[in-house]
Symmetry: C2
């Protein structure tokens, strides 16, 4: 039951049909696709650029095509908490509400596929399975958010870091379409500060815990941003989760 966060991240799909890792896939029925083509357009952002500020009026909903965006909130005194990472195929915005509840910022270079909201909402009413897929995706995201609440509320700094690395390792393996395995190697897409904001820590603590995991032989670093996992089992031991989070697909 644990590590569901990772599972949810592993199984993102085209929101229009059940094809994995595509924002909009080629299998969608032609007439629907045609209607989508009609109302969609693309936007590009550079790393660090804001996409939407909390409270902004949103005239579109969108889907991440490539890159990573973050969803976050900031208190007046500057404390910020990231509440989600938006990966390819993740949905941005919500039908039926027109002001954004959170800030969306491009973490890496980012391309999103936008759909004008009104026509998209009409499409939803005439094409029920889109609503059904959206419900399914939203329920998965809700489960993920709740899993993350355990990380934020109850895990130690070291467990938090290990949990984040385990998630990124799994997602990365899924994107490359192979199982995560011992010795795997991946790129850390986040700065220490972004990791801190995601984990409810300070960047110094993040840095120290990464150093500690390195010293303990749980991870190896190649430069600052590339990570090798000698043993997945050792890493997952550090997360505080048990191992039955489903098979490491």
């Amino acid at each position: 039951m644990k590590l569901k966060m990772e599972m949810a991240l592993d199984t993102k799909e085209c929101w229009n049909c059940p094809i994995k890792h595509q924002a909009v896939c080629a299998r969608c029925e032609p007439d629907e696709l045609a209607r989508l083509e009609d109302i969609k357009y693309y936007r590009n952002y550079e790393a660090g650029q804001p996409v939407i500020w909390s409270g902004d009026h949103m005239e579109f909903v969108a889907s991440v095509v490539t890159g990573i965006a973050s969803l976050s909130q900031t208190m007046e005194d500057g404390r910020t908490q990231m509440v989600g990472l938006l990966l390819p195929s993740d949905f941005i915005g919500r039908p039926g509400r027109d002001s954004a509840p959170f800030d969306v910022v491009a973490v890496s270079d980012l391309t999103i596929c936008c759909f004008r909201k009104k026509p998209f909402e009409e499409l939803m009413t005439t094409t029920p399975h889109i609503g059904a897929r959206l419900l399914e995706m939203t329920l998965d995201e809700l489960d993920s958010a709740r899993e993350w609440m355990l990380v934020l509320g109850r895990k130690t700094a070291r467990e938090k870091i290990a949990s984040l690395l385990a998630i990124i390792a799994r997602r990365d393996a899924a994107l490359k379409k192979h199982a995560p395995k011992d010795g795997m190697y991946f790129d850390l897409p986040l700065t220490r500060e972004a990791m801190a904001d995601y984990l409810g820590l300070t960047l110094e603590t993040v840095s120290r815990q990464i150093s500690a995991l390195k010293k303990a032989g749980i991870i190896e670093l190649d430069g600052k941003r590339k990570v090798v996992i000698p043993s997945l089992e050792l890493l997952i031991n550090e997360t505080g989760d048990d191992m039955d989070g489903g098979p490491i697909v």
Copy 2:
């Protein structure tokens, strides 16, 4: 944009139609209601009783009728994190998945209205607006969960307690169908331990911070479980949130 948690709690509705504060309301079209009557049944639990354990097979979805339940997860070493409070009209379970992702426990005496899953899923496909309402409710819950991540990740113990009290105050006022106002009085439905599990604190810290808020005149206690809020503004100042979380309806 802040205090959306409270807003979401304020506006729970019948999931079958947009009537507030009812699990299933009388306005639903007669034929649908008839079909619902066909597949529904009630269950009662005493305070403290488990409703579902994480991983259990769920043969029903349900809706809270009266009382409060908690949604929580527990690590092997016993650390537990509550990830949601289920109040009247909240939905339990999810169409399309048959094992529960979290523990559900009755916090107070509890009545839920169950619907056998298979027929409910059929009903959803034949009655699209039920799916639409469920999507809307799920999106609200997702926003609430993400708001709570800020509380867990970035707020101090005192701010956490104040945030929880503010939420309960608003919900309580909403249930009594009047605006929360200075001097309002309500019942604290949670033990110190349950509050701690919700806030990612220990029960001693909860107790100490409640004492501190009392000493500071932010709240008054009548016994252990009844609270008076002399000034809502003072309380909200303590939450760390700004005041623009919408009007205190």
